[in-house]
């Protein structure tokens, strides 16, 4: 199996290589600027300085979900069109998504401590993110467990599909579950309320920064996967010769 002969990976390596420096620079700039700006915003009258956590929590949470969606799309592209780069991109994205989910969970918990008085609360949103984290772990574990790369790509692709359906289903089930038990408890976090401009713009900048960071990381990781596959293919051919 020599994927290097296919046009796709070569073109991908070339174009990603050209684009990468810009994306990385943009990521660094926006993330740092957004987080620093957010850090410097005034305190919220209700939540004190903890509102600053929003600049980490919201971008991370958004990326956690969007990365899974990206994995879903790239998995479908692989299953239908058999573009190897697509499968590798999904594989590459997963650890980034898991980290984003973890950041969302940790910042959510840390934020929750002074707000709710507890480190963890089975709030529907946090719980859904915990389930999403489990899906990421399972997906990554399956990639590692299956030896044949194409089979691994197929199985993880199917898992991503099934997982997406159940992630959605779990979201509704968890909402039902939490409401059913705690009628009227208002444990929603700030993002539900309208946000003043002071917070909105640093937030947008942070969101952009996180997105560009994901883009830079996934491009690098996909290139790594392509190189690894190339090496494996070369070694396999030599062993046979």
């Amino acid at each position: 199996m020599s994927i290097w002969e296919y046009a796709n990976p070569v073109k991908f390596m070339r174009s990603s290589g050209a684009v990468l420096p810009w994306v990385a620079a943009g990521a660094g700039l926006c993330t740092v600027a957004g987080l620093v700006w957010g850090f410097l915003t005034p305190e919220d009258y209700k939540q004190g300085s903890t509102v600053k956590i929003i600049f980490l929590h919201v971008p991370a949470a958004l990326m956690a979900i969007n990365i899974w969606l990206m994995m879903l799309v790239t998995s479908l592209v692989w299953l239908i069109r058999r573009h190897h780069v697509s499968a590798l991109a999904a594989k590459a994205a997963a650890p980034i998504g898991a980290v984003m989910t973890l950041i969302a969970l940790i910042t959510g918990a840390i934020w929750g401590q002074p707000m709710w008085g507890t480190w963890w609360e089975w709030d529907p949103r946090l719980t859904s993110f915990l389930i999403l984290f489990l899906f990421y772990l399972g997906y990554m574990a399956l990639w590692e467990a299956v030896e044949n790369p194409d089979s691994a790509a197929d199985l993880t692709g199917v898992l991503c599909l099934v997982g997406s359906v159940f992630a959605l289903l779990s979201r509704y089930a968890v909402n039902f579950w939490n409401q059913g038990l705690h009628q009227g408890a208002s444990l929603s976090m700030a993002p539900g309320e309208r946000m003043s401009a002071i917070y909105r713009y640093p937030l947008y900048l942070s969101m952009l920064g996180f997105f560009l960071l994901f883009l830079a990381l996934v491009l690098v990781r996909t290139r790594t996967e392509i190189r690894r596959r190339r090496l494996a293919a070369l070694l396999a051919r030599e062993n046979r010769a």
Partner: protein
Amino acid sequence: MKALLIRDLRLATRSGGGFGLALAFFLIVCTLVPFGVGPEGGTLSRIAPGILWVGALLSCLLSLDRIFALDFDDGSLDLLATAPLPLEGTVAIKALAHWLVTGLPLALSAPVFGLLLHLPGPAYPWLVASLVLGTPALSMLGAFGAAVTVGLRRGGLLLSLLVLPLYVPTLIFGAEAVRRGAAGADPGTPLVFLAAITAATLALAPFAAAAALRVNLR
């Protein structure tokens, strides 16, 4: 189709087949919980619906890898894949066999374990109803997980990691139905959702599982 079902049932129920293991495990879990949380009746009756459902869920998990592993190892799965019966049908039959041997006995014997955990009286019929409605989904989703991990060394642990998140919706609605029954309230809504999840799972999971099997049989 019936021949396959009978064959699988016979395989599961002969000695060494693991039948009864699920029930024994269910018993162990229900025994361990009071040791963990204390024997106080009030506490137990509050958490009993959840414990019973989680116990049933874990017991189902135990025998999942057997659904395909034996046939995979001795080559019969390859034969089944090329047989006139579509692979999706084979998957469904095997999941049905698993349910008949695991989920159904669990559902029917659950009231006995409910007694151990001080489950409130009104809850018992809803316990059985929710388990009967929900365990087929557990078997079917388990079959999907088994199909994905068949042939992997130490696939059992990975199987649990993959399948347990899929069980969450069924668990939520199943346990909630029992809880509402215990409180004397109407458990209709969670039961309907539970049935819907099972129905959708039974309709769609065989296709995902068959796709995974085809990958692993290559």
